[in-house]
Amino acid sequence: MDRRHFLGHAGALGAGAALARLGMLSARAQVAAGDYKALVCVFLYGGNDGNNTVVPIDSAGYASYAAVRGRLALAQGTLLPLVEAGGAARFGLHPALGGSTGLQALWDSGALAIVANVGTLVQPLTKAQYLAPGSVKPQSLFSHIDQQNQWQASLSDAPSNTGWGGRLADALAGLNAAASVPAMISTTGNNLFVTGSATQALTIPTSGSFGLRGFDNSAPGLARLTALQALLGVDRGTDLLDAAQDLMSGALRSSAVLNPILAATTTPVSAYFTGLTSGIARQLLAVAKVIEARASLGARRQVFLVSLGSFDTHSNELATHDTLFAELGAALNAFHSALGGIGAGPAVTSFTLSDFARTYKPNTNGGTDHAWGNHHFVAGGAVKGRQLYGTWPTLALAGPDDEGSEGRWIPTTAVDQYAATLASWFGVDAAGLASVLPNLQAFAPATLGFV
């Protein structure tokens, strides 16, 4: 029995004829090298503890931090100073995020910014307003899935069936008319962030080949492929079956284009990831390969989603953070170094999202619980880095930024503003922002200028 994997392997015997049958050999537009931008969302699933990500480094600030954090306090001498554009360092990074091969190096090179105390909001909210009866708050605060969805939708007063990455892709679809693959690509499956009204993400694998196996150019092989395709086009008209059929159609189309790109191991970007084996590194390498092939793929605006999980550190937080941050810092450094190496540095901006921050007050298991406003990273050659944007919260239990007494910061910058800043850089004009971020008008200023 012939078990050649023809669609999954470029150059397999006779693949051309069968590919042509699938309509996959249509001409691809070439894109002017100067008109390409990509946004890369790095979702930290579980709710990252921003309070142990960016830490006050001055004596008084650190002492206050250590007094509350107790056993969770990072040692002062281990924090990686973040020397700001003005010349002083007010904050330090978690050491595992990395110095010369991690995020500190990106910061020092001016390619990393931090946005403080961002979170889900329906409208600006002071503590007094928050505590007042009938205050307008995001739905289901502190719930993982609801807060994930609100970060991804940039809507907090009702469920949404689109995300702001998807709406961005919808808004800029005209720039991607010549693309041979979907404008949105996920390495982490279906997510609201990359769900638009008209535009859906393609999920690509980060290991193994990406293709349909088991076909050849014999008469039965071609007949089987024809029938497989035919089964995707009959019985249309119910949502569930339509979805399953469309999924397979898209998979056949896109995998034929992308598998050779993803399978390549010696392209320039790959060298920057040497020795990095974590899941987040593999995902960012796959994204870098797609960006590397941008001229042949034809898209001018791409939205990517990658993710790293296990940030729900209700217990054993110190060890968990050490592991996750070491992976994250090294992978982001490699990613942006690689893009710089292929001349795409200023064309690509990555940024973090996460469910929520975590309580400043530790719990009894060496962990922290679900909170709200959080600090986030924005990285890339276009970023106005070495700066902290937004408003740093007062780190005090029951203080002016705490919604209660456990250290859950009421956000002072809305997700909408964070998203709008990225969307503006991506090329959405003021009118377009209103459709991509329908609740943006509730906040001022609309954008924060970090990129």
């Binding site: 107790g70 088991g214 217990s315 009894t364 298991n365």
Partner: protein, 555 residues
Amino acid sequence: MLRRVIPVLIVAALSVAACGGGSGSSSPAPPPPAGFGAADAARLLEQASFGPTSAEVTRVAALGLDGYLKEQLAAPATGYPGFVFTPHTAPADCRYDPTAPAGAASLCARDQYSLFQVQRGFFANALAAPDQLRQRVAFALSQILVVSGTEIYEAYGMAAYQNMLLNDAFGNYRQLLEDVTLSPVMGRYLDMADNDKSNPALGTSPNENYARELLQLFSIGVYRLNSDGSLMLDTGGQPIPTYGQDVIEGFAQLFTGWTYAPRPGATSAWTNPINYEGTMVSFPAHHEAGSKLLLDGFVVPAGQAPAQDLKVALDQVFNHPNVGPFVATRLIEHLVTSNPSPAYVARVAAVFADNGAGVRGDLAAVVRAILADPDARGAAPSSSAAGHLREPALYITSVLRGLGGQSDGVYLRGQAAAMGQPIFTPPTVFNFYPPGYQLPGTHTHAPEFFIADAATALARANFVNALIYGGGAPPDTTVTGSTGTTLDLTPPATAADPDALVDQLSAQLMHGSLSSAAHAAIVTAVNAVPLTDGLGRARMAAYLVATAPQFQVER
């Protein structure tokens, strides 16, 4: 438009091997009840088992709905036997050794400190255990009351938890909630184990993890529900939260003071080392002493013992009006359809509230109500929105059972992972897919589609290719009793007649629901294989039916 339904019982199988599930039919079968034909029996087996086998369809059609449910609800659990306690930290001779991946230490690590054996046991049971309905319901429960191999990597721990779900699958939901709450496996996963009372000197508060997820995911959800599962709305048209942060903190305080059971012979102390056997034990000195705010303003008085507090809290949660529609909706989604009608949910929720004998939470009665409901029965669903995508585990087992396959589970555990469902190892307590997931651009609920994407769609087709054209997987010499994974592809008698061949597969795999158009496409392909190549024809038809979206979406 459906083609005529072929009575499966008179058709020779595609060389279907006897594949389990054949117990309890030694006495002469009574005549089938009116209206319970082979197609309905096959459809019932899609909902109530890990997929129809030819033999089971024949048997169940004869037993009838009531006979089958009665048998299955009484069948004892086939569990995960033979796992023994291992310390949380693996001894040196039981750690993976990259220089000797098949050496004794590496295999010990695989068998004791990963879910390898439990996952393959899952498939072995799903394919061949006689208590199919119990296996199926327990699998659903494992995706509602979630623990995960991301943290519970000791095989004996996961086996203990799954055995508990199997034993409780047809018991009372109140008991299940208590067993889950006091399970050391859950205690470890959601941090109720070793959750201490607040400590002013250390500046620490009780851990909120179990408190929040018990309420949000295991019992009532975040909003008040009507009895038909729809959201209750306030006068302003807004959903009504079931609890606030203050209630989470109250439950977190209540769930303090529990640790693992001591090992036999060891002195029990706060805290005991990780031990997934038995149930957690309480230490009143580490239990938050003050009063605790629970649901709807109810306050537990100060000074009660941990177990006393726990009983009060679980009673309150269990009796919350949301639990019936919440559990009914989850189980219907897993067994029958992603988009149940409100009336269907209400009928099942009513049985949850009262099984007819005044008992609340009787899961056997709930499961019976789900499967016997008019919205589940018949040879085809009444609504075009009915059904659900077969999740990877079900897809795999349905292909194997429908095509006379056998497996030791070794190959299948990896295949399930490639399709997005590493068994008992969802990424978080929110399971592999969220119940509320909707297809993009629609309001159609489709939970299983959350893990359906280009990569996993191709993985499904490539799995079928490997089974049908690649010979499956050989036995694994490092696994005792390994049989590999194979189909029996002896050419069937119908190979010469493509119409009959495709009808037969449609009957076996999808209760005869293949449409005329899909049938025609497959027949055309079968005719491209020479008449003399019976095996080639059988493979062609089986591949196309098993990869067809029409099969993957169970209706």
